[in-house]
């Protein structure tokens, strides 16, 4: 229902209200009032033309109403309110940004590859794994073991913390001294790296790993925290 008489009335009222941001609310409320009045007239059998005329007449003087509304919708108070609200929004955004950064890193770390490690096409073979071990609130997941022609053995794994855990988040990475083969050799020459984020990616490259070994054994035992995983290899006569 778009009545030009009603629109004209509303325009006159709003022309007095200087605080433009409240125009929509005021217009809505007055429009609804006039709609209800118009419907009431119609339900009493009054014709459209008379209903429209009476509707505008019953509302009163648009200039007077507009001026009195203007007194209640002050520019000064309205603008202070808007400024406070804008400031609150900025504060919220500023407090979200650090959390957002962390989650962005986590997303990045989930989707990005192990770009800092060796090229996987150089590997003689790779073994996919998904052994998960929990140490306190930390999860350790072995994902892949790769073996290269220069006797480098690479172990790829991820770690993450139990969500909402209150424990101290100690940073974890697998020390090379806990890498053994099935012949009891302990390997200590290694290099490794980790990514930050909610889920950290890690790699550990053990140099000079015996091509005859049938298994690589991850045996981590520190202060009662244990990881023990045996991974059968494809070398050593198994293939």
């Amino acid at each position: 229902m778009l009545l030009p008489e009603r629109e004209e009335f509303l325009k006159r009222v709003l022309s007095h209200v200087k605080f433009k941001y409240d125009h929509l609310d005021i217009k809505r409320e007055l429009t609804e009032h006039m709609e209800d009045m118009y419907d009431d007239f119609m339900s009493h059998g009054i014709d459209e033309e008379t209903a429209t005329r009476l509707m505008v007449e019953y509302m009163g003087d648009p200039d007077e109403i507009g001026e009195r509304l203007n007194e209640q919708h002050s520019c000064v108070l309205g603008n202070i309110w808007r400024a406070v609200r804008a400031l609150a929004v900025i504060m919220v955004i500023l407090s979200i940004i650090p959390a957002f950064n962390t989650s962005l890193l986590a997303v990045y770390s989930v989707f990005s590859g192990y770009s800092e490690t060796r090229d996987r096409s150089e590997a003689i073979y790779d073994i996919k794994r998904s052994d998960t071990v929990r140490i306190d609130d930390l999860y350790f997941k072995l994902e892949e073991v790769l073996y290269y022609s220069d006797n480098d053995l690479e172990i790829r794994y991820r770690t993450w913390y139990q969500p909402f855990s209150k424990s101290v988040r100690w940073s974890f990475s697998l020390p090379s001294r806990c890498i053994y083969d099935n012949m009891g050799t302990q390997y200590s020459d290694s290099s490794g790296g980790s990514s930050a984020g909610l889920i950290s990616r890690h790699y550990l490259i053990v140099e000079g790993f015996s091509p005859e070994a049938e298994k690589v054994i991850i045996n981590y035992d520190y202060d009662g925290r244990k990881i023990y995983i045996e991974v059968p290899l494809k070398a050593g006569g198994s293939e």
């Binding site: 609804e32 009032h33 209800d36 019953y58 509302m59 003087d61 648009p62 209640q72």
Partner: protein
């Protein structure tokens, strides 16, 4: 009978608080209710209700919210606040004292002329 607009103006807030003490209303309902309760004596221009309601809201006597009315159409409702209830009881007392005094004067004069 027509009543001087100034008189109505002075007691509008009191009447609105009395209505809103019963339940929440939207503007058009308030007009209908006032008209009915006052038996058509208070026929003020309907649009002038809103500056009064907005003033009461600014003063913290009422607060507004939007809700679907019985018709299913969404309307802006007004509800009385704790400050509004306090104001209502204060103003009601003042009004009683005022009308009592006026009645005494009127009653006194009419008695004198009798």
């Amino acid at each position: 009978m027509e009543i001087d607009k100034g008189l109505i103006g002075g007691s509008t807030v009191l009447m609105l608080l009395a209505l809103l003490e019963e339940r929440d209303f939207y503007g058009y309902e308030i007009i209908k209710e006032l008209r009915e309760k006052s038996e058509n004596i208070f026929e003020f221009k309907e649009g002038t209700l809103y500056p009064v309601l907005h003033r009461m809201e600014n003063a913290g006597l009422v607060k507004s919210y939007r809700k679907a009315a019985e018709s299913g159409k969404e309307r802006k409702y007004y509800s009385i606040t704790a400050a509004g209830l306090k104001r209502f009881s204060d103003e009601k007392e003042q009004w009683k004292t005022f009308t009592l005094s006026v009645n005494k004067v009127i009653g006194g004069r009419s008695h004198a002329f009798a």
